[in-house]
């Protein structure tokens, strides 16, 4: 394509932003509305319930199982926060033009994301195995929908992370280093947001019961 879009790399003087940075903030604003809608629904449904977590048709409540999984969820919280830190470090490494360190931090980020998903898999399968499927009660429905959407965000992010360290993605560093650094910054913003959502999900779904 021979058309050059202005301010793809350089900052527009009056806004101080390049295009993608404004774009990602707008996207995150809509994500806030998405998760805002989820948390509001949580409040509304919880306010209407007599006990929380509610008792399902089988007379059981998931309460006892939740206490067991607080440990796992705490571990996952640490994993995600670590990945957020290494995400910033990889961006900083690019700013310092240190591509090796960039790769190292990216791989740590990727590993943390994978660890999070693996732990989540065990959590899900344990709950489903015990009969606590989404249809069990409104808590389980919210739990699976909210964490499920969060997991989808992690999986999507994971694909992008891997793309950035694969030859196809990283070759932009040789041709357009500024644009590549911007990409990492913009993706980093998304990644912090996903992390932040978990910071809200963790207490709401695990601790406040």
């Amino acid at each position: 394509m021979d058309i050059k879009i202005p301010y793809n790399e350089d900052l527009r003087p009056d806004t101080g932003l390049y295009n993608a940075k404004l774009g990602i903030w707008l996207f995150l604003a809509s994500e806030v509305m998405l998760f805002g809608g989820l948390f509001s629904s949580y409040i509304l449904l919880r306010a209407g319930a007599s006990v929380w977590p509610p008792i399902g048709l089988d007379g059981q409540s998931v309460a006892h199982l939740l206490e067991e999984t607080i440990g796992l969820a705490t571990f996952n919280t640490v994993a995600l926060i670590t990945s957020s830190v290494t995400m910033v470090m990889s961006w900083v490494s690019l700013k310092m033009k240190d591509i090796l360190k960039f790769k190292m931090y990216m791989w740590i980020t990727i590993s943390c994301a994978i660890i999070f998903l693996v732990v989540k898999y065990f959590e899900y399968s344990h709950k489903i195995h015990e009969g606590f499927i989404p249809a069990h009660d409104t808590y389980m429905a919210l739990y699976f929908t909210m964490t499920g959407l969060h997991v989808l965000h992690i999986i999507g992010g994971l694909f992008v992370l891997v793309y950035f360290v694969m030859p196809n993605g990283i070759k932009m560093w040789d041709d357009e280093p500024i644009r590549f650094t911007n990409r990492i910054e913009v993706f980093g913003l998304y990644w912090h947001f996903v992390d932040l959502v978990w910071i809200f999900l963790f207490p709401v779904l695990y601790l406040l019961n």
Binding site: M1, D2, I3, K4, I5, P6, Y7, R12, T15, L17, Y18, N19, A20, L22, G23, L26, F27, A29, S30, E31, M33, L34, G36, G37, L38, S41, L44, L45, G48, A49, P54, G56, L57, I133, P134, A135, H136, D137, T138, M140, A141, F144, T145, L149
Partner: protein, 587 residues
């Protein structure tokens, strides 16, 4: 077009998977017009059932019989009530989500916003392509769902649970399609906002933007922030239908005499809150860009500056903001409580203020102008009173006391159709006649256009005005026999035939338009239309390359000196001053 940039583009990358905002705009335009025609056809069939309940439909009867049989309904060429429900739900869905919004934001926004801000393309051309290619599958899924057992979605375009939770599988397809459409809107709105904020050319300060760009900017914010809650609602309903959850199902729900075996504990009202949190701003998504089009056409054809440009801009912002605070005025009858009703009634009265300001500005703009009565202007002039009727009839609905009587009657249908059909769709027609020469280099025929306008104007009123009469008499909006089985409707039943004939004649009135579009495309290029046939001031007319526009839009990046509506500037030879023309000092 510059030849040095010329390189081989295959048919696929040039016309199908194009990243040029103009091609994507045209793609949106053609697809959306097609969907508008489908949505309108559904309604024309429904109008037969309302005028002559349970009799065989002429012309399309055999097709309806075939479709009903496929869906598993009994039909002798008439429209069975189950299929009536499907048509009703899909008429609303198709018109709003597949017709009007893609046309006014996808087509007009995509084509014109980069041109009016002097940008070579949208800020993210590939996202722009993804936006169209997420819209089209959504539309195709909706169409396919017509042929499923049980038909397409049949719970109304509002898809209220618990009904929609237990409806036939068409509802699931509806939800999946909606998620595609929401994604499309999201990508499109991010693109438009970034384009307006980041890609304005030198000199084009905020208060020099054409009002159309402002209206698209506010609209994009509404789409960006209002659609995600609907996405949440759609995901919840999908979970209810597929995973057996009870987000919207209360405990102890009885369906067909049997207790539903679900955990319960959900809230049907939750859907309404999430849905209307989108769907009220959606009303302004429909009307704001229409106002943008009207502003351009009025200023151009009165040959004087738009009256109250700044009030228009601030009003549209206030309108956008307030539209997030009025959603529960759709829910006065849900028993949500007096306090809530009072709050939403007050915000609803407040939001009518900026709408009135906008309408007044347009009317005052006509004052003392030397008006050119061409087809775009006729549609704009028709728009003003018709939108006025739509707006004013909304006030009794916004007051919770009078809403008790009017809620869910034909009065509501009349009200929002006056806003959307003669409102938005007239603005769309006006815009199509106005910018057609920019897109193709050819002028649409004036005589055919005038036939189109006057016929549409008369029959639109013929369709929608009697609805107020029926609604005030208390005829409910969703009856498949048009109220024939209710005694209180007996006196106003006669209007059904009037409305139906108007609807079919309105359909015929669109033929000159379609003929005009196709015939003009085959005509030779009209040299007058090439440059600036309306003597307009905005950048897309004065500086963009001649149509068909080359990729990149401008031979050299324009610089803006003037406001958007410098018409009839005193002491000037021409009666218009282009935004990019520098006035010599001392003159």
């Amino acid at each position: 077009m510059s030849n040095k940039e010329h390189h081989e583009e295959s048919f696929w990358t040039k016309y199908v998977f194009s990243i040029d905002h103009k091609v994507i705009g045209i793609q949106y335009g053609i697809t959306a017009l097609f969907f508008l025609l489908i949505g309108f056809s559904l309604m024309m069939v429904m109008r037969w059932q309302l005028a002559y309940p349970d009799t065989a439909i002429p012309v399309v009867g055999p097709f309806i019989k075939w479709l009903a049989t496929l869906n598993g309904f009994a039909s002798e060429g008439n429209l069975p009530s189950d299929l009536y429900n499907v048509f009703g739900a899909m008429h609303g869905t198709i018109m709003i989500f597949l017709g009007v919004v893609p046309l006014i934001v996808g087509a007009f926004g995509n084509y014109l916003v980069p041109l009016q801000v002097g940008a070579p393309d949208m800020a993210f051309p590939k996202l722009n392509m993804a936006s169209y290619w997420s819209y089209l599958p959504g539309g195709i899924i909706m169409i396919i769902s017509f042929f499923l057992p049980g038909g397409a979605a049949n719970s109304g375009w509002t898809a209220y649970p618990p009904l929609s939770d237990i409806a036939t599988q068409g509802q699931t397809w509806w939800l999946v399609a909606m998620i595609f459409l929401i994604t499309s809107s999201l990508l499109g709105s991010v693109n438009i906002i970034v384009t307006v904020v980041q890609l304005r050319v030198k000199g084009l300060t905020w208060m020099k933007l054409p009002f159309f760009v402002w209206s698209q900017l506010v609209t994009s914010f509404l789409l960006l922030l209002a659609f995600p809650p609907l996405e949440v609602a759609a995901i919840f309903q999908l979970m209810d239908r597929i995973a057996g959850t009870s987000f919207f199902l209360p405990s102890g729900l009885v369906v067909s005499g049997e207790m539903l075996q679900v955990s319960g504990g959900g809230s049907p009202l939750l859907w309404q809150h999430l849905f209307w949190f989108l769907a009220h701003p959606e009303v302004y998504v429909l009307i704001l860009p229409g106002m943008g089009v009207i502003a351009e056409v009025i200023a151009n054809n009165t040959r004087k500056p738009l009256w109250g440009y700044k009030s228009l801009v601030y009003s549209s912002f206030f309108l956008g903001f307030m539209s997030f605070t009025v959603w529960a005025h759709h829910m006065f009858l849900t028993g949500m409580g007096q306090g809530m009703s009072t709050f939403f009634q007050i915000t609803t009265m407040i939001i009518s203020v900026p709408s009135v300001i906008i309408l007044s500005c347009f009317m005052l703009s006509l004052w003392g102008g030397s008006i050119r009565f061409n087809v775009p202007m006729l549609f704009a002039l028709g728009w003003i009173p018709m939108f006025g009727v739509g707006g004013l009839t909304g006030l009794p609905l916004g007051l919770s006391t009078s809403d008790i009587h009017l809620h869910d009657t034909y009065y509501v249908i009349g009200h929002f159709h006056y806003v959307v059909a003669p409102g938005t769709i007239f603005a769309l027609f006006s815009g199509i006649y106005f910018w057609f020469p920019k897109v193709t280099g050819k002028m649409l025929d004036e005589t055919l256009g005038k036939i189109h306008f006057f016929a549409s104007f008369v029959f639109m009123n013929g369709v929608f005005f009697p609805m107020f009469i029926q609604g005030l008499a208390g005829v409910s909006r969703r009856l498949a026999d048009g109220g024939a089985s209710y005694a209180h409707a007996a006196d106003v039943l006669k209007w059904n035939e009037t409305m139906s004939y108007s609807a079919w004649l309105l359909g015929l009135a669109q033929i000159p338009f379609i003929v005009n579009l196709i015939w003009t495309l085959y005509k030779d290029k009209d040299s007058k239309a090439n440059a600036n046939p309306w003597n307009a001031t905005t950048i897309e007319w004065t500086d963009a390359t001649s149509p068909p526009l080359g990729h990149g839009n401008f031979k050299k990046t324009p610089v803006v000196y003037n406001g958007p509506y410098e018409y009839s500037v005193p002491g000037m030879k021409d009666d218009f001053l282009p935004q990019t023309k520098k006035m010599k000092k001392g003159k």
